[in-house]
């Protein structure tokens, strides 16, 4: 059993400075769980509480069937990979990897076997005699992972392990961590990042955390679920806005009535959009927010949609070309410009009037409190 259960976990630094509030969470056996959230949301603190490096103010943490709140870090059967690698600078790569096993009084030949096996998996065999200062960032990260592997932990903990690497190496190491997860299917993994791309690419489950006032109001956890569930069915405005780049377009609107195929909303610009959600709890004229992702706004000519149905027409204020796709910035009706992500160069230029279809399935509707209305 390598499941991890957090029940009613709270943490504060001092009486008036809560950082984690009311976390109830279950991470299943062998699951790859990513703690994602903005800076200061407490994701690293939560990870460190699982590791035993921080104590919870209240609540209970279980690893498997065992309550570990009072268990020393070394006895929790967890291994952690730190953001800054935390390699022992005065020890060789071999000694870094062997250190934990030596502390556990593992027989010498067993230590040697495990270190060489981990080095083989991570392709760092030629580096075993080197000192950490003689390694590149990527090599150091491999050694840090190797140090975790040799202990054969039940739980791997990763605290933003890729944030010190350059972009290309980050992508490479990301795939290696995914491979590691496949190679150690019995171990659960918790991975902390603020990078949604890493989270989407690696996670079986994402735990998106609130920060600041949202945390105080709604608790730390904003939403837990599979990556695509969070992406396609965000529970509230925060989740909708946090996942996706560029962020989801939000358009203020009013509820115009419920019909068989969904809630009809009237935009300030006069257009009407039908969103397939249950708006029966809304009063007529209630303020709502329409959400639609940039990649879901399809140019009308390209989509073939009839002008007027589920269509937004705006003036193009700017276009950014990235070769494979372009971002079209649209003025009007919102404090921030709407963004549409179109394939290729899109054929738009600043000053044009352009129409984009907002397919009903891809639209989201949030009530005045920012809570998503459930889809039909």
């Amino acid at each position: 059993m390598t499941s991890i259960t957090l029940s009613g976990v709270n943490k504060s630094f001092g009486a008036n400075f809560p950082v984690i509030s009311g976390v109830d969470l279950k991470i299943d056996d062998g699951e790859f769980c990513v703690f994602l959230g903005p800076s200061g949301c407490g994701k690293s603190t939560l990870l460190r509480m699982v590791a035993g490096l921080e104590t919870a103010y209240s609540g209970e943490i279980r690893i498997g069937d065992r309550v570990v709140d009072k268990v020393e870090p070394a006895d929790r059967e967890v291994a952690m990979v730190f953001q800054n690698y935390a390699l022992y600078p005065h020890m060789s790569v071999y000694d870094n990897m062997a250190f934990g096993l030596r502390q556990a009084k593992t027989p010498k030949d067993e230590i040697d076997r495990r270190v060489r096996e981990a080095a083989r998996i991570l392709q760092i065999e030629p580096l075993l005699d080197r000192m950490p200062k003689a390694l590149s960032g990527g090599q150091r990260q491999r050694v840090a992972i190797g140090r975790a592997i040799v202990r054969q932990p039940k739980v791997f903990l990763f605290d933003e392990p890729l944030s010190n690497l350059d972009a290309a190496l980050r992508v490479h190491m990301r795939s290696e961590i995914a491979t590691l997860h496949r190679n150690f299917p019995a171990a659960s993994m918790i991975y902390v990042t603020h990078d949604q791309t890493e989270a989407m690419a690696l996670a079986d489950k994402i735990v998106l955390l609130h920060a600041g006032k949202d945390m105080l109001k709604h608790g730390s956890i904003a939403q837990v679920g599979k990556p695509l569930d969070l992406y396609h069915r965000p529970r509230n405005l925060f989740v909708a806005g946090f996942l996706g780049s560029p962020t989801m377009n939000f358009i203020e609107a009013s509820f115009a009535g419920q019909q068989a195929d969904g809630a009809r909303v009237a935009l300030k610009s006069g257009e009407e959009i039908v969103v397939p959600v249950d708006g029966s709890t809304l009063a007529a004229g209630a303020a709502v927010t329409l959400g639609v992702r940039p990649e879901h706004l399809a140019p009308v000519a390209a989509s073939g949609a009839a002008l007027g149905a589920q269509t937004l027409t705006r003036r193009v204020s700017a276009v950014e070309h990235f070769g494979e796709y372009s971002f079209v910035y649209l003025d009007g009706g919102t404090p921030a410009p709407l963004i549409a992500k179109v394939a290729g160069d899109g054929g738009f230029k600043a000053g044009d009037s352009a129409s984009f279809a907002a397919p009903a399935d891809c639209c989201h509707l949030f009530d005045a409190d920012g809570i998503a209305l459930s889809h039909l």
């Binding site: 490096l53 870090p73 070394a74 730190f82 800054n84």
Partner: protein, 308 residues
């Protein structure tokens, strides 16, 4: 013609800019070089020059005696006894000050915020002038009225009471104890700074690996401090070889030269015996000895150099 004159004027401006560029470093360095020359290089060279004279330092009666002073120094038992005392002071400074300073640094590093007052208290001896300390401890060791002997009496160890500064067996040891007391806070602060720069993640990684605090200290923190330790030892040895003020105030080098150091011996020769020439020879020899020992120390401890 016009063209030629323009070019030549341009060439002149470029030349002036070039010479200004060369001049600028010299101008910026000049004040420091001047100060070093007046207060360090000139006295050093002049000290070697004076070591070749027989002169009381007061009149125009200086007499060139070649290497006579140096020959005398080579066979001067008092000088070598003083040099040996310096070496004892250096050795005991390192052996006493470093471990105690390190222990205090580790304790205060782990003590957290509550240790602020202790840090200030421990640092106080270093803020006091050596002369004041000397006077204070002269009283502390006083054979009749000193608190040390009174304390020994009080706890029933009156038989151990001594004339600490007046007995040749104890004078140097008594003074070394005060020197250590004075400088332990300095090395404590150095080690605390070294410990503060120890990355917390390494401690945490070691804890997750099952290491105890003791293991973390011996295997992680101590190796991290090796550069600081090297600096502290070199500073302590050089300081001990040049030491003067506290000894001068407490014993003046006595009794019977038991606590004599090279610096106090030099001082006595120049200002009490008015042998400026021979005193300068002692000063020059002291300089050479310090340079030699420091060089050897730095050479053999190079592998512990702090990596930047």
């Amino acid at each position: 013609m016009t063209d030629i004159s323009t070019r030549s004027a341009g060439g002149g401006a470029a030349g002036a800019a070039l010479s200004l560029k060369k001049l600028a470093p010299a101008v910026f360095l000049a004040p420091a070089v001047l100060l070093l020359a007046v207060y360090l290089i000139y006295p050093l060279i002049d000290s070697f020059r004076l070591s070749l004279l027989d002169w009381n330092g007061l009149g125009a009666n200086a007499r060139f005696v070649g290497l006579d002073n140096w020959k005398k120094l080579a066979t001067d038992a008092l000088f070598w006894e003083a040099a040996w005392n310096n070496i004892l002071l250096a050795v005991f400074s390192v052996l006493i000050q470093m471990p105690i300073a390190l222990i205090l640094a580790v304790v205060l590093d782990n003590a957290g915020k509550g240790s602020r007052i202790l840090k200030i208290l421990y640092f106080l001896p270093l803020l006091m002038s050596s002369v004041a300390l000397g006077v204070l401890f002269k009283y502390f060791y006083d054979v009749n009225f000193g608190p040390l002997n009174a304390l020994l009496d009080y706890v029933g160890l009156g038989s151990l009471a001594q004339d600490w500064l007046g007995d040749t067996r104890f004078a140097l040891g008594a003074v070394i104890a005060v020197v250590c007391w004075q400088f332990i806070p300095f090395y404590m602060v150095l080690f605390m700074a070294g410990l503060a720069s120890f990355p917390a993640e390494i401690s945490e990684a070691a804890k997750l690996d099952g290491a105890s605090e003791t293991t973390i200290f011996w295997k992680m923190k101590l190796p991290h401090l090796k550069g600081t330790l090297r600096t502290a030892i070199v500073l302590s040895v050089i300081g001990a070889l040049r030491y003067f003020d506290l000894i001068y105030v407490m014993t003046g080098g006595g009794p019977e030269g038991a606590s004599e150091l090279m610096a106090t011996y030099m001082y006595r020769n120049v200002f009490s015996s008015f042998q400026l020439g021979y005193g300068s020879t002692v000063a020059s020899a002291m300089f050479i000895i310090v340079i030699l020992i420091a060089s050897v120390l730095l050479r053999f401890s190079k592998r512990y150099e702090t990596e930047v």
